[in-house]
Amino acid sequence: MRNRILVAAIGLAAIIGVTTVSASAFDDAQYPDFKGQWRRISPPGQPAFDPNKPRGWGQEAPLTEEYKKVFEDNLRDLAAGGEGLWPGYSCRPPGMPPMMTAYEPVEIVILPKVTFIMIDHIHDAHRRIHTDGRDWPKEIEPAYAGYSIGKWVDDNGDGKFDALEIETRHIKGRRAYDATGLPLHADNKTVVKERIYLDKADRNILRNEVTVIDNALTRPWTVMKSYSRAPEQYPFWREYLCSENNNHIAIGKESYFLSADGYLMPAKKGQTPPDLRHFEPQR
């Protein structure tokens, strides 16, 4: 009799122990291992939005006729020394979706109600992907990173999450897909959908299937972005401060250049100097 009570007590204690441990712990075993530093996989040189195709017209972006012209005008401006449509020259962040090109490495921090995607490029962005089941708020101030709501999915029914599905809206402009100035619509009504998961064959490769819905496109445009996990035990996170040593100077609607010796200079042939009407005449 005593032995039976003892056995039952041991059993009850074990059950209580398991429950107590689980209640205070965040069980990250439920989630895929997104830890570490992720670096983009793309050909050498300036990355394109679709890493699998050449830059510029080679991207075969399904632009409307109107926005093909916008792109052409942008290319002409770039050729003349202008900035085109890429916001990075004036230290504005690329925003969504181009920030997922990962111009600098990415860190993903998974918490129960939010997943952070951190990228230090121009702006030390920390995207929040809300996974708490919230609805879209009624009023949202647009942001370059947009506002993201996501959910974890278990594709293969093994009780563990495999992929993070995200929708991002309320994105601020101006934005271009990459530094060639491939344009998104000026109305900033872009919707970006993503599906982020580990490659089944190589758990050190992260895939991001990015679909862009935008009024500058004739149809949704899907590209696959890939990132490799840094092999170093202690990866280094570089600080990318755009304003440091940025030689582009914006004055009103004009963009000038700062010379190596610290003087203002034209960025385009024939560019007029800034209006100095507010300065006292110099002798």
Binding site: S22, R134, L241, I251, L264, M265
Partner: protein, 275 residues
């Protein structure tokens, strides 16, 4: 009545359950071990490093002279504050928390997120050693460790050291300078106030060649638990009208034209524009 065999099976099953529970706990991040640092933390006090006037800042005579020559506004803030042209405040000035701070604790890193210019930090708690060569930065490289100072089995203090800086950096908006050699070392002890868990304390000790001795100040932040539905993004380039050309700071006025920031300021030299 339960047979001995059945009872033994129950005990075995319970033991297995416990082992599985412990195994999953080994993967689990036990946030109960760490202090609750959730919410938004806002600085208590003015934008002055010592929380008052900096009058007793232990500057060397050379750097006191530099400080006293700094051009300032009527409110005592430096006119040519590099933050105005979107330069990072760097450490230790980041801990002035010009915007609310959010702290995310994970086993390997404590992230301090501040939506300001470029103020977010990582404090690595993964046991890494100091690397031989480090790309210097305004925020520096921070390595720390969690401590259980009262022996109750829970961490209560994050001790961090930050090195490998670039500059120029200042302690605060008054222009209190750090040395141009950028050999600053910043040591911090971050913990919740024992008498009020909604106050965060950061005891910061700065060792710098502009100082005659290590200087310790205690900064406090108040927790705001109000849930934030939409976190505001702050992009400095959108919010500043200041332009630095050479050693001079100008402002782009509402009419889109360059304006001086002080009486008698010369305009930029336009030598590279055709006459």
């Amino acid at each position: 009545m339960v047979s001995r065999r059945t009872a033994a099976l129950i005990a075995l099953a319970a033991t297995l359950c416990m082992m599985l529970g412990l195994a999953s706990a080994a993967h689990a991040f036990d946030e109960a071990k760490y202090p609750d640092l959730s919410g938004q933390w806002r600085r208590i006090g003015p934008d002055r490093w010592d929380g008052a006037s900096n009058r007793d800042a232990p500057l060397t005579p050379e750097y006191r002279a530099i400080y006293e020559k700094t051009r300032k506004t009527e409110a005592g803030n430096m006119i040519a504050d590099p933050m105005l042209t979107c330069q990072s405040p760097g450490m230790p000035r980041i801990m002035q928390a010009y915007q609310p701070m959010e702290i995310i604790v994970t086993p390997d890193t404590t992230h301090i997120l501040i939506e300001h210019i470029h103020d977010s930090r990582r404090i690595h708690t993964d046991g890494r050693p100091w690397p031989g060569e480090v790309d210097p930065s305004f925020r520096g490289l921070s390595i720390g460790q969690w401590q259980d100072t009262d022996g109750d089995g829970r961490f209560d203090t994050l001790v961090a050291e930050t090195r490998h800086f670039q500059g120029p950096r200042y302690f605060d908006g008054s222009g209190l300078p750090l040395h141009e050699d950028n050999k600053t070392v910043v040591r911090e002890r971050i913990s919740l106030d024992k008498s009020n868990p909604d106050i965060l304390i950061d005891e910061i000790t700065v060792t710098d060649s502009a100082l005659t001795r290590p200087w310790t100040v205690t900064k406090s932040y108040r927790r705001d638990r109000t849930p934030v539905l939409v976190h505001r993004e702050s992009v400095c380039a959108d919010n500043t009208a200041h332009v630095a050309i050479g050693d001079e700071m100008y402002v782009v006025g509402p009419d889109g034209n360059l304006t001086p920031t002080r009486p008698g300021q010369p305009p930029p030299d336009l030598r590279y524009f055709p006459r």
